[in-house]
Symmetry: C2
Subunit: 521 residues, 2 copies
């Protein structure tokens, strides 16, 4: 079975290099020979995307909504074939895959709603004041799409952060054509989803080129996409190394473009003394379960657990250790991630300042053995390499002598997607300095909950200071993600008939607008 690249309405397999997906649970190649994209195909996808953009950028919100909902419908129509392929390519269990499919379709429908409602364009109007000295002209401002967007599929969410994931959904909602660079581990999943999108695009009369998906094992086509003059933004979810390579490639362009790389973090959890005293056992279970979710392959996986040593901490650490030992090792996404997990973990454990608190034996399968270790706060602060992410089920307990040392740990942290405080209500008031510090360090500050689990809604922020992302001013989850792919444009003294509907005097879309400084609808 030969699987082609998808370029707009067409399929294309001009290359000679073939790639196969591997089933991480069996280490066996999966059916399907995927033809790697050539540079000629990159050019074709970019050219089609730009051509499509010239009409898609003016496509009405309701039409974009119909397209996005059709994609969700087509994905659901793939049925069990999709679920099975995702399981085979990712090693993820069925429940998780079905859940992620639901989330992916909900996400598409949420962005359909955003496009349809139209408030996202942030319309602002100042009407003319001809009598003023000097006279004020009529000025009307709205967001418009930025141009073709390249999306890199993520390894750890083969559906929700990949071909039809949040980046694609938000870019399409904004009016940007999308070119997906499929993750090489999920080529079959990508082929199914990309075909579903292609089908939806044709059925809803979207322009040829509004969506393309290219395959490859390496980085040649990906780099060419990032550097293509017709590409106006890039979205990526993955490792720090991968994200920074894309950031660097983008910088070699003549025209700077935004690169949204979500590169993960170690998501510190600060466990306050009273909480440990009151909830030791519960905390241990809750944390261990969060650490092993999806074989620990979540961007928001809690990699650091910060405690103050007192009479209750030894028991807590023991309970946590037992909970880690009771976890079921799960198959990791691919060989590279499995090897990287073990290498990074070993690098931490080889540090003589780090003590192993609980570990499970390695095995020949690509299963991640959950591991818990600890280090003294002063050693953690002195060795910044201990902040490096171990992508998988690994947590490092940081033992502080006192409050000041815990605050020093917080201050020493790099940027994070999330930071969490676990505390009883009566002690939280004593930790305002910590709370303030974490607001500087993270995109989301959580109280008494685990960081895994990212709600897709208006108020989510998934993104944080470097190295968590390349640009903390944007989110890659939630409706705010659309803002990445748009720029404001002002129309000055434009005839009402020529204005986009969002800015017409009669407000035919019924959207919220800031009119002469007042929000109106």
């Amino acid at each position: 079975m030969i699987r082609s690249n998808i370029i707009g309405y067409e399929t294309s397999a001009k290359g000679t290099e073939q790639v196969q997906s591997i089933n991480p649970a069996t280490k066996a190649p999966l059916a399907g020979d995927f033809v790697a994209a050539t540079l000629e195909e990159v050019e074709a996808a970019a050219t089609k995307a730009e051509q499509a953009w010239h009409s898609y950028r003016h496509t009405a919100g309701v039409a974009k909504a119909t397209f996005l909902r059709a994609i969700a419908d087509e994905i659901e129509a793939l049925g069990d074939e999709l679920v099975e392929r995702v399981m085979q390519e990712s090693g993820l269990p069925e429940g998780r895959v079905r859940g992620e499919r639901g989330r992916t379709c909900n996400q598409l429908r949420l962005f359909a709603q955003v496009a349809e409602e139209g408030n996202w364009v942030e319309a602002k109007i100042e009407t003319a004041l001809p009598e003023r000295t000097p006279p004020r002209v009529d000025l009307r401002n709205m967001l418009q799409s930025i141009g073709p967007v390249v999306v890199f599929g993520a390894s750890n969410f083969p559906l929700a952060f990949s071909t039809a994931g949040g980046d694609t959904a938000s870019a399409l909602a904004a009016g940007c054509p999308v070119i997906v660079k499929a993750h090489p581990s999920h080529l079959g999943t990508n082929a199914l989803i990309a075909s579903a999108i292609q089908k939806a695009a044709k059925a809803t009369n979207m322009p040829d080129g509004v969506f393309s998906a290219l395959q490859e094992a390496g980085h040649t086509a990906g780099k060419a996409l990032v550097q293509h003059p017709k590409v106006k933004a890039v979205a990526f979810t993955g490792s720090l190394r991968g994200g920074m390579a894309i950031h660097k490639a983008a910088h070699e362009r003549e025209e700077p473009i935004p690169v949204f790389a979500e590169m993960g973090s170690v998501n510190p959890i600060f466990l306050l003394p009273e909480k440990i005293k009151q909830q030791s056992e519960n905390l241990a279970t809750q944390l261990a379960s969060s650490v092993n979710l999806g074989a620990g392959q979540f961007c928001t996986n809690p990699g650091l657990l910060v405690v103050i040593e007192d009479e209750h901490t030894p028991t807590f650490i023991q309970q946590l250790g037992k909970a880690f030992e009771a976890l079921t090792p799960a198959t990791m996404l691919n060989e590279g991630i499995y090897k990287n997990y073990n290498r990074c973990k070993q690098s931490h454990l080889a540090n003589e300042l780090v003590q192993i608190e609980a570990k499970q034996a390695n095995n020949d399968d690509w299963k991640a053995a959950p591991t818990l270790a600890s280090v003294r706060a002063q050693d953690f602060i002195a060795h910044s390499n201990l902040q490096e992410e171990v992508f998988g089920p690994f947590s490092l307990i940081i033992k502080c002598q006192n409050k000041a040392e815990l605050e020093a740990v917080a201050n020493s942290l790099q940027g994070q997607l999330t930071a969490t405080i676990m505390g009883e209500e009566n002690e939280l008031g004593d930790w305002t300095t910590l709370f303030k510090t974490l607001q500087i360090k993270a995109g989301r500050v959580i109280f008494n909950g685990v960081p895994t689990g990212v709600e897709v809604c208006h108020s989510m922020q998934h993104g944080g200071p470097f190295p968590a992302t390349t640009d903390s001013r944007f989110t890659s989850v939630g409706t705010g993600a659309i803002r990445r792919f748009a720029r404001p444009i002002t129309f000055q003294n434009c005839l009402d008939a020529l204005l986009p509907d969002a800015l017409k005097a009669s407000n035919p879309l019924g959207i919220w607008r800031l009119e002469n400084g007042v929000f109106r609808r």
Copy 2:
């Protein structure tokens, strides 16, 4: 008279290099020996800015508003001393300087209002849904300041885009301390304004370090500021070369930060046939006057005039030429800009495809001789160097054979701050393709007005696709400018008492918030 750098509440003159401002009208050095900042002083300013940020980021909107208004008051209190110094350092006439001072103070007061009203934080709330499967946690999202911001003073707006200009006002309103790198041409102006800001900061109890201003003739301190780990954003208005140098310096940092470089453009004006037929004389006067505003040293100066050759164009070009010849040459801002103007202009005129339509004689003073030239559309399209900005009173007429050629000219354009259509109402409907193209090319599309004159309001967009700016998704003029210096943060399941006021259940600030998908106040 020794003039020091301003570092928070202190003055500092540790360096040995002294710099003087030159009066461009007399070519004579002006009173005042300004001591160039050392790298030690850069470090001190950055350290103080970060320290100040830790409290200033939590400063209430009303307090920031009081600070911003105090700055405006202190600037006004400088009285004629400021006006005279600006005139001496810039060669700009008194009326313009007084007008720019008014604009600068209005801008500060507008951002005071923005900070005070508080809607700019874009508060979004999703309340908990404990009964849902899975339960939804309480999520509250708002914009918070990004950290210390470095502002480079602009040559062409010694007040409105410099020490207390739009970049500084918007950054301070967002809650970001500011370090200004003074423009070397306006060291006296900077010293006066920086002292006024320092005075206002002290009087309103802002933290020491909320504002600093450093001086130098070269680029050492400026580069060190851009690359300082404590600096989180940079704003610049100036040349393409200067902006790209800053962009490049920022890219050498470990942590990527946003660089907002507004680098100017040639601001094409498309003159439609019916308009020329009806309004030839008026157009000629209006355009010539716009081209020579501020000696042509406006970012939005109209450098390209695109016409279709017909029986009316020879008369129009003749009228325009006469209007150019009637302009009064004005002193340019400094020797570098004057020489650069002549060099770039000569480079265009030396092109054998370019024809001179009107010019004034050069003189020994640093006065800009307004010049009008023309070129055939096909030659313009074939020679992209003719798109390079001539910063000063210079316009190039592009003569098209027909509508298709005019549209091809539009398509060939680089990114612009503005693009203008001059057309009679009855012909505009025939030019929708042009209108759509210009929306891709520019940040502001203007009908029947000159691009010079940028209203400071909510709906202004001053910024456009590269090379007009490094990031078209933001504006450097108008209230939207604040969005450059803030990032969203989500609070999950946070006690109401610990939340920032903007997110508290009772909405004590009375701001607009998106609550469970509905805009409320």
